[in-house]
Amino acid sequence: MADVSKVGLGLPPYVFVVERVKIREFAEAIGDKNPVFLSKEGALAEGYLDIPCPPTFITLAFQEFTGAYLKAFEALGVSLTNVLHGEEEYEYLGEIHAGDQLTCHLNFESIVEKKTKTGPMDLITLRTLFTNQEGKEVLRSRSLIIERK
């Protein structure tokens, strides 16, 4: 079960670089043909300074490329085999463009035990604040992870 003594702590700040080619790869995997995500020309035509991040692109900052989810689960003593993703929320504070270097502050916000028909579970809330290379806050995220015990 998740270690409640870790609530309020988090991961050391880590860096996630928004790679241009990954934005295109991500949009194409989704099947999103919106020209703003596929080329700089498409983005400029819509008034962006460069290719903007698709709204869910920030998920990359938690996955294999940074290992942040795995590090968070390890720190909290959560077993990977028992976790489900319950909710995901993004608050967009500023535009994120290809080439940006984001500093990610991931915090273990809360762990709440819930009893259900199928047994007890922990609801783990992770909050992350992303600032860009100019120090501007550009995104806040909240992930609700469910650990079945």
Binding site: E25, V36, P55
Partner: protein
């Protein structure tokens, strides 16, 4: 250039034009795994999925959220999107056909611009909701 929704002609309770995606394929799940870095084998390897009691691999929940994001960034300029949140309700499989819908829940004009809150969902070909959520936009007037 995308044809965005003109909210001036719409009211609370009105629906936005729905987006129906092509059927999900296993190849798409593999591509999304590589693109997103979510290498959980439940999404790419049937034998692992079967050990967990599933018949075949399941789609990444965030992929379905990505379908919803595709719909939203077709409805409004992405830079007008201020908040997007979802709850993952059910598993989605290869072959499923996802449709993304949205209904206007709140609409207010203020000093900062036009604020619109929409309920949104992604449902499969049987009308079963897989992901539900909300998004907020702020458009300059």
């Amino acid at each position: 250039m995308p044809h965005y929704v003109d909210f001036n002609g719409l009211q609370v309770g009105d629906s936005l034009p729905s987006l129906t995606k092509d059927p999900i394929t296993k190849v798409q799940l593999v591509r999304y795994a590589g693109a997103s870095g979510d290498f959980n084998p439940l999404h790419t390897d049937d034998s692992v999925a079967q050990k967990s009691g599933l018949k075949v691999v399941i789609a990444q929940g965030i992929l379905i959220m990505g379908f919803m994001a595709q719909a939203i960034s077709g409805w409004v300029k992405k830079s007008d999107l201020k908040r997007f949140k979802v709850r993952f309700m059910g598993m989605t499989y290869p072959g499923d056909v996802i449709t993304v819908k949205a209904v206007i829940k709140e609409k207010q004009e203020g000093e900062k611009g036009l604020f619109v809150l929409c309920d949104t969902l992604a449902e499969d070909q049987n009308g079963e909701t897989k992901v539900s959520g909300q998004f907020e936009i702020m458009q300059p007037i």
